[in-house]
Subunit: 269 residues, 2 copies
């Protein structure tokens, strides 16, 4: 199944644009889990079980698994296996390298871990991205405008009268010959999000981190990030949902937070 | 020991600016190794044993280990353990993320795998790099001008009259308050290398991939990449050395190729 069918299926089935970020910091999970074997996996499975009917996607940031060493690879694999087959899976690694090396990253993320989508960084230009785009059934979200405070330091540099992040947005349209490019734009920059959606048109998905702990506004995120059908935006929240409670009720607290966020998003669609 | 002491120690001890890239593609190693347990590890150990007196550094590109899953983490760890304590170790992952996540990557690469240096991508600006730079004893090589054919697609964009890669070089100087920044510049772009060395001055190391298979010129690489003392350049070759022979003599063939390259580099210092 091509990525866009799977994504629109999960968006419609769960009536949701919410992407839950399984950025599971092993140091922050509830203390009582830490004595268990593979505590991050136990935590992830509980969060997935509690939220799987509320989300369009899960996004796993690879840093939180890489830091676990060999166990991280196993936890990543088994977390992915615990996600229902009809929910979209994004592996967020922001990978970038020259062609023959980028191909290995693409194999790791798409073939081995079975991601539906990945995030990539375009600083190397088209040939560093191409090995990902060759997976025509999969989607590659290209960093455009990131959510962090110093995002503008390079991304706002003016090329003529166009900031770099908009040049990247135009490149994304140009590179999108297989209809499998997406963009990453932070919710913390709503005006930039509006301009990127305008450049990308209706058919390119935007992955939008930065609501929740980072402070992005939900209403503007939905109004500016979605296309004219109120779709093609995946709004990610991680810490706010994962660590809604540090007690034994962490999963139900995550569910409550996720449900509230999904419903709030839907009021603005 | 601070990174620059260790690096200048290995440069002087082995009289070498050669960095061997252990970008070990499991599909390309000699066939007779494939029946062994952990063939990539066996291969790496043999290459290290055959070249360890000829190099200033080894660079391990993480893509080739990530694609091996949990085994990759073990192979990475044990390859690093097989490198002599006085040889510089670079983990090449080109990682980039927002602050709290970049911190996890830094922990993984510096604390867990014990790298002396890493490569990072600066598209997110200072705060995505800062968690790496906080490791004051370690070095972070920031992508500046990459070696691939489409490098210029973004990196040559003109900011006023300055191309982006030179803006990044200036940022590297600005961010270098802990004296632990390096730059990555491809040997395939000698004029750009010359200009970046000029911007960075004498004390910032440049990691230079792209000689060998990618076609970078060794003479220009050394003349333009080193500082006024003929140091602070790490010239990486991977495939040309690793896969010099596909037979049982692969390690001695790697040694011959590495020795030739080191000696050629030294004639131009």
């Amino acid at each position: 199944m091509k990525w866009d069918e799977k994504l629109s299926g999960s968006v419609q089935h769960n009536n949701s644009l919410l992407c839950v970020g399984l950025d599971t910091d092993a140091e922050k999970i509830p203390g009582f889990l830490k004595a268990k074997k593979h505590p991050v996996l136990v935590f992830n499975k509980a969060v997935i079980e509690a939220t799987k009917d509320l989300v369009c996607a899960y996004k796993l940031n690879l840093a939180f698994y890489e830091v676990l060493g060999a166990e991280g690879s196993l936890v990543l694999e088994q977390t992915i296996a615990a996600i229902p087959h009809d929910v979209f899976i994004i592996l967020d690694g922001k990978r970038n390298d020259i062609g023959n090396t980028a191909k290995k990253y693409a194999q790791a993320l798409f073939d081995m871990y079975k991601a539906d989508a990945v995030t990539v960084n375009a600083y190397l230009g088209k040939d560093g991205i191409a090995p990902f785009l060759e997976y025509k059934e999969k989607c590659s979200f290209i960093l455009c405008r990131t959510s962090n405070p110093s995002a503008g330091e390079l991304q706002d540099l003016q090329i003529g009268s166009t900031p770099l992040y908009q040049v990247v947005a135009r490149k994304i349209s140009e590179w999108n010959t297989n209809l499998n490019c997406g963009a990453v734009v932070g919710a913390t920059y709503p005006e930039e999000l509006r301009l990127v959606r305008k450049i990308l048109g209706n058919h390119v998905p935007i992955l939008i981190p930065g609501v929740g702990k980072q402070g992005g506004d939900v209403e503007k995120t939905i109004r500016y990030g979605t296309n004219s059908q109120g779709e093609m935006a995946l709004v990610n929240s991680s810490r706010e949902i994962l660590f809604a409670s540090s007690g034994e009720d962490f999963a139900s607290a995550a569910r409550n937070k996720a449900a509230g966020l999904r419903d709030m998003m839907n009021t603005y669609r």
